[in-house]
Amino acid sequence: MAQLKLSNLAKHFGAAVAVEHVDLEVRDGELVALLGPSGCGKTTTLRMVAGFVEPTAGQILIGGKDVTHAPPYARDTGMVFQSYALFPHMSVAQNVAFGLEMRRMGRAEREQGVLEALKLVKLDHLAERLPRELSGGQQQRVALARALAVNPSVFLLDEPLSNLDAKLRSEVRLQIRSLQQRLGLTTLIVTHDQEEALTMADRLVVMDRGKVLQVGTAEELYERPANAFVAGFVGRCNLISGFVDPGGVFRTDWGGEFAVPQESAPGKAIFALRPERVALRPGTGHGIPGRISAITYLGSLSEYHVDVSGNSFLVSMPPPPNDSPLRCLKIGDQVSLTWDVAAVRLLPFEPSSNQGEEP
């Protein structure tokens, strides 16, 4: 195990910039997730660490050793490919043994290592099968075992769960996480699934268009997003652009007035509020008036889309109890919205940014 350090890493494909100014440190035994929309440079970053892509600029250190220009076979990374990339002509055991053979391990020791790795992923009973005789989930676990068997300094995973169905995905996700923690693996995982990143990672790196926007724990990113993109990408968020007036008033572009913390700096800003921090009451009372435009029942959660002067506002809460007046709300009903001003975040205004998933 070792620490992984990327400094000022960049990759250009001709004129196209895939990755730019990436600074990142993955501590010994830590799991860091690279999160971002399609094409933001996650895979390129990971492949630079593995040595398959030559960086245009910057440095990669594994355990303090500069491997920026080292060939892939000399890097001691263990990579799990999105397509698994198992050797189709070798049995499960031979696949797992491959890395150990390359490390010139003796036969007995090798067999021991294969067995241990297969036991880790609970596949020791299928050792003699060929990859094509396995299900997708089993192949995925062989790929994991193959990478783990060599006890790599850095464990790399590129969307390892994207080919699995939802149930299996959450199962394997937990498996990877517990293995990673038990073995103390320094891990970099790529995903575009925020739930995956939130449940697995010690820290998350949100990327967009080749740049790192924010690095932090799930809670940090959720509670204190650095900008509107992060707020919209990690969890759901109501994002409204407008102007902060002195004295704690936020004037939206369409002329609405929202309460924000008193000490907020005046100027153009983006108002960010998590849907679960908004309280909703039937009828017109105090608060922002709106009209329900859609209700989505999600089991443990209900989502209300509320139309506020032509703008959609998302409110989420656990389904109200049977005797609650909220229970009989239906589309078109008048409601009013209130929130604790402390829950409001004011984010820097970015005219050209394509904001993440807006409600």
Binding site: A50, P71, P72, Y73, S83, L86, F87, P88, F98, V150
Partner: protein, 275 residues
Amino acid sequence: MAVLIVPASLLVLGLLVAPMLLMLRISLNQFSPTQMMIEAMSADNYIRAVTDPYYQQVLGTTLGIALLCTLLTLILGFPAAYWLARIESRWKSLITILTLFPLLVGNVVRSAGWMALLGNDGLINATLLWLGIISAPLKLMYTPQAVVIGIIAVVLPYMILTLASVIESIPRSVEEAAANLGARPGTVFRRVVLPLALPGVAAGSILVFVLCMNTYATAILLGGPQFKMMAPAVYDQFIRANNWPFGATLAFILLAITMIFTIVGSIGIARRYKR
């Protein structure tokens, strides 16, 4: 659905199997200088062909040249095929077509070109003489080496294209996985690329071997009168000696040897592949 193969089957039956059966029948007849062919049922022609040292040598030369050319073509073709399969260039399809280009030139025309290059007053000798590197022309034409070079030039495109299509089907990520696990490029080739490309190696080698065994124009034009391979020998019997029974016998022996080597080779590769 089975009806779909009827036209092709009829064609094969009519144009391949029927003449072959006819040839087999002819090979059992006897030759007579006056009557040309006497109906018979004898193995005399076969006995003569396998016992006559001259024809033993012709067969040996043919087999040796074919095996050598197949091996050299495989060794030369694999890196080129790998490169062709892996380039990510917008010119890829153009390069693939260029690979086929040599086939646009017929064997006779091509060999004539080689003669102009390798002959005693051909381009190479003329240049070397002019530069003063040699004082008398080197014997380049009418040598087995000239034949080998000439054959390889013909069959190389077949090998490259057959191999490239198989290598293309090997995911690059599989090679990357091997490198990631610590395999150097040579090991990646030996342990991953080559085993996965074996079906292509088999198909390409069989194709090339069959073409080499049946070399005709190249053998005559670049090998000269002293150099004999099977296909020209068959031609000689049919056209020059008018000995149809013996010509048919030689043709059948050529066919049989080609088939035996092809089948044994495929079984060998299939067995390795299954392992």
